[in-house]
Amino acid sequence: MTVFTRFGAIGLATASLALALPALAQTGEVNIYSYREPGLIQPLLDRFTEETGITVNVLYAGDGLLERVEAEGELSPVDVVLTVDIGNLVGAKERGLTQAFTTDALERLPEAYRDPEGHWAALSLRARVFYVSKDRVDAEALTYEDIASPEWSGRICTRPGDHPYNIGLIANRIAVWGEDRTREWLTAVRDNLAFAPEGGDRDQTKAILEGSCDLAIANTYYMGVMLNNEEEPEQKEWAAASRIIYPDAEGEGTQVNAAGAFLARYAPNEDNANRLLEFLLSDEAQQIYANINYEYPAVPEVEPAELTQSWGVLKPSEASFAEMAAHRDEAAALVDELRFNEGPQG
């Protein structure tokens, strides 16, 4: 028995080491933890490998990557973490998981789009806007305040309130309006929901097609990605039922979030990580963000895709990313306090 267990243990140890080995750092590699859907990010990474010969290893997970990086500590194999919202970038720095990029490419970004010490950089921007039904909504322009009115009762839909995209929006509202006004607004929006929040942004466009809601809160680029989805052509139909309205376009401005990257504090391939950032901020990569992902390029010299421009002119909210990030916790507490995810309660 003991002999058996000992053999078993040795065998298992070797086997698990063998599986773990490729994850360890080697030259010519860069390791990425990505919150982004692989479909959106893969073309970019393929181009990077083609140009530099650096192998890219990716762990994609919709959630929980910061927790991983934190638990792995100084041994973490990760070099660069790609996030889908600014909160995760700022949060990572606050938790001591980051260090400064050294590349000059950072200067291609306006100051508002990067960490003052260079720990993170925005790579693309996305506005959180209203998708409204082409058939059932006549309004040409709407403000955030508008959707709190009883006129929208039972007509609004969105993904869960504690998703980083909605936390970003609520945090931005707190930055602009203060907490009390935001609480009133969020309560009214909650009670105007057509059903308890569920699914992702794409699912909300489907709900508009279906007729179960008339206005969805969702990110801009989904419209472009869905209208051009050749693999799942049904999604073209989902998206075609809606049009985009930029909230507060005439007023304070629309809330914008950023997808970005930070350099991990214990990155084993720091140089390659810097080269990756240089590439991601190059015109070529920024054009891929614009033309394949339909996001707004973070580098001002690169134009958004024509389709994106056809939806209207983006006027970003005046509240900065830093202010928005500072109100994340209050935003999350508000979502809990109002039990937003349980849907209308009025």
């Binding site: 028995m1 002999v3 058996f4 267990t5 078993g8 065998g11 298992l12 086997a15 698990s16 080491l17 599986l19 773990a20 490729p22 994850a23 390791n31 933890y33 859907e37 692989p38 479909g39 290893n57 762990l59 994609y60 997970a61 919709g62 959630d63 929980g64 927790e67 991983r68 638990a71 792995e72 500590g73 100084e74 041994l75 973490s76 194999p77 990760v78 938790r95 869960p160 504690d162 998703h163 980083p164 936390i167 059903f195 308890a196 569920e198 699914g199 992702g200 942004d201 794409r202 489907k206 097609l209 279906e210 007729g211 179960s212 693999e231 049904e234 999350a332 809990d336 039990r339 349980e342």
Partner: protein, 543 residues
């Protein structure tokens, strides 16, 4: 012999570590006065979890018991097929059932398309259709794929029952329903309790389906507390609540079976007899079983088959192939480890062992009840800390940094699989050992074989069916496992389950039909084995 072998103690400690860690984190957060989050989220989470569990418990109980009763007591068209087909839904993990039912029943699915084609409606405002992505929808889908737990338990129980009571009741003039309520229901309580408990534990364990349906269940809330709010302490507190709740369920199960001795000895003179149903009754029995199989397996499987065949993308084919390879490798490793330790546990927990040892092993096998999300939460930090410690040591002594050996590797996954699935391999091997007896081992030793030789030449070969059976079950469980794999897998490792989850959570489930189909096909393996085994337990038709 010591009252408790050191190795057994180690096993229990290793298995208990994540829970101890979470308990400490929960208390730590409480001492810091950081209870706000758990307190706000708890009432809703408890209410929604309890409602879901009770509904699913009730529905699986009714569906499973009725179907088992029909199949073992009556003869009707296709009964022999239903006998094994009723288990098929077990091959569909709850998250896949959720994804496929949404595809089937939501606005763009075939059912509503047909409704619109028939009524000429264009939006859902013009007709009524229930929303599948709701708490009620979740309860329905869970019940449809989890009833086989009750079916299998009750069916096995009925086959062992003597038919004499039933025949006596018939002779005394009791009709079918009266016999069901007066005899079948009270007598089958232990099996019913076991089946319903297993089904309810699956509900608590599920993460993929509740997130997709938007149910604020405990697992979902733990997940979002940890991930979206980065609040480990709060998540740990909620995890402790879930563990206490599971403890209560298990205690309730034990209590429901308290001090009753059910004689399962079969009266050899009275073989279980099947009463032939005819006319409307035969049609009803047939329809009931057929509907169950159709809803629990036909729809999810058919939907996957349709979606996978409809469009083949070479990119997805390649992703699926590579995910399948990793999955098979991972699940084989896992099965090897879990079966090896299950073997050891079965040995040490046997009836001839000291009671303390038996008790310790029983404790160690309770891990199957702990949700994967909770285990992942409890494993990540201690393994990370251990890695750090090992690396500092090797660096200090040898100037060598091996990197993440435990937390960033397959080891973390294997660890969680061991905790969750030890019970599966242990119970199979224990049953195998009990059936075989110890006499061959004694004979080998008497004839001069050493411990190792006896193990290799006698012990292992005679237990081979049990070992293979246990390995298969563990393999399949690992292939289906989602929450822990999702949170702990190493860089670059994508399993079939995580591939499907990734697409589905991005609203692109239809792209992932192929890997999803592969999971279900793997899940069919134990079902087939079970059906072949059970066909040996013949039931004689009453002519």
């Amino acid at each position: 012999m010591l009252p408790l072998p050191a190795a057994v103690l180690c096993l229990v400690l290793v298995i208990g570590l994540p829970l101890l860690w979470l308990g400490a984190a929960a208390i730590g957060a409480a001492i810091r006065g950081d209870n706000g989050l758990a307190a706000t989220m708890l009432p809703t989470a408890l209410r929604e979890t309890a409602t879901l569990m009770l509904t699913v418990g009730l529905a699986t109980g009714v569906l499973g018991l009725l179907s088992a009763w029909l199949v073992t007591h009556f003869e009707f068209p296709l009964r022999r097929v239903f006998d094994w087909a009723l288990i098929l839904p077990l091959a569909v993990p709850t998250y896949l059932a959720a994804y496929t039912y949404v595809e089937f029943l939501d606005f763009t699915g075939p059912v509503q398309q047909m409704v619109r084609a028939l009524t000429g409606a264009t939006t859902i405002r013009e007709y009524w259709f229930p929303d599948i992505r709701s708490n009620a929808g979740a309860a329905l889908v869970f019940s449809l794929v989890l009833y086989p737990y009750v079916y299998v338990a009750c069916r096995g129980f009925f086959l062992l029952q003597s038919a004499s009571i039933n025949i006596a009741a018939r002779l005394l003039g009791a009709g079918g329903w009266r016999r069901f309520f007066a005899i079948t229901l009270p007598v089958s309580r232990p099996a019913l309790v076991v089946g319903v408990t297993l089904a309810m534990l699956e509900v608590v364990n599920d993460l993929g389906a509740v997130l997709y349906f938007g149910v604020n269940s405990l697992t979902a809330v733990i997940y979002s507390t940890w991930i979206n709010r980065s609040n480990f302490g709060g998540a740990a507190q909620l995890a402790v609540v879930i563990v206490l709740m599971i403890g209560l369920i298990i205690l309730a199960e034990q209590w429901a079976r308290r001090d009753r001795v059910y004689s399962t000895a079969r009266d050899a003179r009275v073989p279980p007899a099947l009463e032939r149903l005819s006319g409307v009754r035969a049609v009803m029995a047939f329809t009931f079983c057929g509907t169950l199989v159709g809803l629990g397996f036909g729809i999810p499987f058919g939907m996957l088959l349709y979606l996978a065949l409809r469009r083949q993308s070479p990119a997805m084919l390649q992703l699926t192939a590579s995910a399948a390879t990793s999955t098979v490798l991972l699940a084989s490793l896992g099965a090897l480890l879990v079966v090896a330790l299950g073997f050891y546990a079965a040995r040490r927990g046997g009836r001839d062992e000291p009671p303390l040892s038996q008790g310790a092993i029983r404790l160690a096998t309770l891990g199957y009840a702990i949700p994967g999300t909770v285990l992942a939460l409890g494993v990540l930090q201690p393994l990370g800390a251990m890695d750090l410690w090992v690396n500092r040591l090797t660096r200090g002594f040898f100037g060598w940094t091996p990197g993440l050996i435990l937390s960033g590797s397959v080891a973390a996954l294997l660890y969680v699989y061991l905790i969750r699935f030890l019970a599966v391999s242990h119970s199979n091997l224990e049953a195998g050992m009990r059936k075989r007896g110890e006499s061959v081992l004694h004979a080998a030793r008497v004839l001069g074989a050493g411990r190792f030789k006896a193990f290799l030449l006698v012990d292992l070969p005679t237990l081979l069916p049990a070992v293979l059976g246990a390995a298969t079950l563990v393999f399949v469980e690992i292939v289906k496992e989602l929450p822990a794999t999702l949170l702990l897998r190493p860089l670059g490792l994508e399993t079939l389950a995580t591939l499907v989850y990734g697409r589905a959570s991005a609203g692109l489930f239809t792209e992932a039909a192929l890997p999803a189909l592969a999971i279900v096909l793997v899940g069919l393996v134990p079902v087939i084995i079970f059906s072949r085994l059970s066909s040996r337990q013949r039931v004689l038709p009453l002519s």
